[in-house]
Amino acid sequence: MSPQRRFVPRPFHLWLVFLAAVAAAGFAGMGYIFTHGLAATNLTDLVPWGLWITIDLSAIAMSAGAFLLCAAVYLLGLKRYQPVARTATFIGLVGYSMAVLTLLLDIGRPDRFWHALVYWNPHSPLWEVTMCVTLYFTVLLLETAPIFGHAAWMQRRFPALARRLGTIHHYAPYLAIVGLGLSMLHQSSLGATYGILKARPIWYRPDLSVLFMVSAMAGGPALTLLISHLAGWLTPHARVDRSLLDRLANFVGWVLVGYLYFRFWDALSMSYTYEPGRTESLRLLTRGGLAFNFWAGEILLGAVIPAVILLVPRLRRHALLQAVALGMVVGGVVAYRWDVNMAGQLVVLTYLPQEIATRYTQYMPSLIEFVTGAGVIAYGALAITLGVRYLHIVDHRQEEAVEAETVSVLAPAD
């Protein structure tokens, strides 16, 4: 027993300080944007949607693990994945809060964010997205309530509240149904947000909603699994069952195959005949400024190589290789969101009847866009780190007791 306990910073503390610093810088930047407006960005009337919308779309896609795994556990009866669903749900909660933060940054009048809930235009895909996201965020709050209820410190300090939160778990199957419906809707209609715009020929196609959905089905679980791997390696507070992660990683591999299938036919159909605007955007993607992003980021590193790794058992069972592949999937989905957003806007619309030549514009995010974007991501990483440490969101051996309480509404109990 030494009289004074000296505080020795460990890598964990340094990591927290680093994230907190980046997040603080981001929030300071956010304050600047709120007071000074969007003139500090490099967004223009030609490219009104940039880095932030990409982060927003990616955060929502990366949260897709939550609805998929909850549906698998509570609707398909695949109960052994329940601990992973728990991780995914928490990541979903954090992901959606990140999306809300970037949206607040992005809209010109953040003080009027509530207008979307009060003034309705059901015709707008963004209205539908807003409604679904709001409702689904509520679902995620309920779904994550038991995680907070089961935290030891919560049970010690507020035993009654903790018990109350824990009982919400009884409704998990119903929440899974609602979550599935809402997620299928808005994950797809985020693609439709672009897909219905006839003014942007590269976007105007029904496939975008399907592709957004399928890519989210790959990226969401991939991030959940990646975080589980990392937590398992880095902290004793996480306990990981490799066989669970392995099977889900295999699933991600199959989703990638489906995704590549859709993308192939989608891209092939666009490559025939000259269509003003669309052909230029496609050229931008495949041969122009976005080509590296497209071929390397989206296709090769983002889908083909990880699909191979995740489908070949010998490669997949190598845990580090599996984690790298999952990280590549996440990167690929982010690259896809960025490319979709940019390809439609960098080609300037023409409305002059005599003008055939298409013009291009440029966009490079400004410093404050990067700083605030990094801040939002750091906030997410911080929340997940704290969740792993204090809420034990990555714990594959804890849940047997809880599992027994749950009634499955759709799948027969085994």
Binding site: D45, H115, Y119, P353
Partner: protein
């Protein structure tokens, strides 16, 4: 509205009148005058206000209904509802919309010393665009004037045009000047292939045969 490219000289008075009347900031144009090729030796200009489309993409996609159709067909902005998401900007095929990236403060260089703008300046963070000077139309109608005939009930750009290249009126009224002109002459609209049905018609410039 009908815009006669044969008459238009590209002087830009329409844009200037619009700026003064609607207090449009210097970095935004509700009306653009663009060089659009040649007819013979003559440069042809395309003057572009909001098209006030019958099937307006901006109205369809605005999630709060801040872009809406007035009963008379004008595509209008509710600046108190707009949250500044800029979806309408991305959706508009004619690039008529502009976002207020910063607050417009101080005097407007386009507003002459002897007059003042007829509508309120828009705040930072909302999207703005041409309204066909709906305030002039509405005020004129209450005074019993006829838009398109009486200057004070007619959009400022139409009144200011020194060569009379702009004609304004009710397309539903077969007796109005716009209907008469469109019945008599070939006209076209911008990007008709998109199915937006713009309410701005252009009379194409012709090569003069002397």
């Amino acid at each position: 509205m009908v815009i006669d490219q044969q008459k238009c000289t590209g002087c830009g008075y329409c844009t200037l009148a619009c700026r003064a009347n609607n207090d449009v900031p210097p970095d935004i144009s509700w009306n653009r005058v663009i060089e659009a090729g040649k007819a013979g030796d003559k440069t042809v200009f395309l003057s572009r206000p909001c098209m006030h489309c019958e099937h307006a993409p901006c109205v369809e996609v605005c999630m709060v209904g801040a872009s809406y159709h007035r009963p008379d067909g004008i595509v209008m902005m509710d600046y108190d509802k707009c949250i500044g998401c800029r979806y309408c900007e991305v959706a508009c095929p004619y690039s008529v919309r502009a976002f207020n990236w910063e607050a417009f403060t101080g005097p407007n260089p386009a507003v002459p010393a002897w007059g003042e703008p007829e509508i309120e300046r828009r705040p930072r963070g909302v999207v703005e665009k041409c309204s066909f000077c709906s305030h002039r139309i509405d005020r004129g109608l209450t005074l019993g004037l006829k838009p398109g005939v009486d200057p004070s009930a007619t959009p400022a750009c139409v009144v200011a045009c020194p060569v009379g290249a702009r004609i304004f009126g009710d397309l539903n009224d077969p007796e109005s000047q716009v209907s008469q002109v469109l019945a008599a002459q070939p006209a076209y609209r911008l990007r008709e292939d998109l199915g937006t049905s713009p309410r701005v018609y252009y009379l194409p410039a012709r090569e003069e045969t002397a």
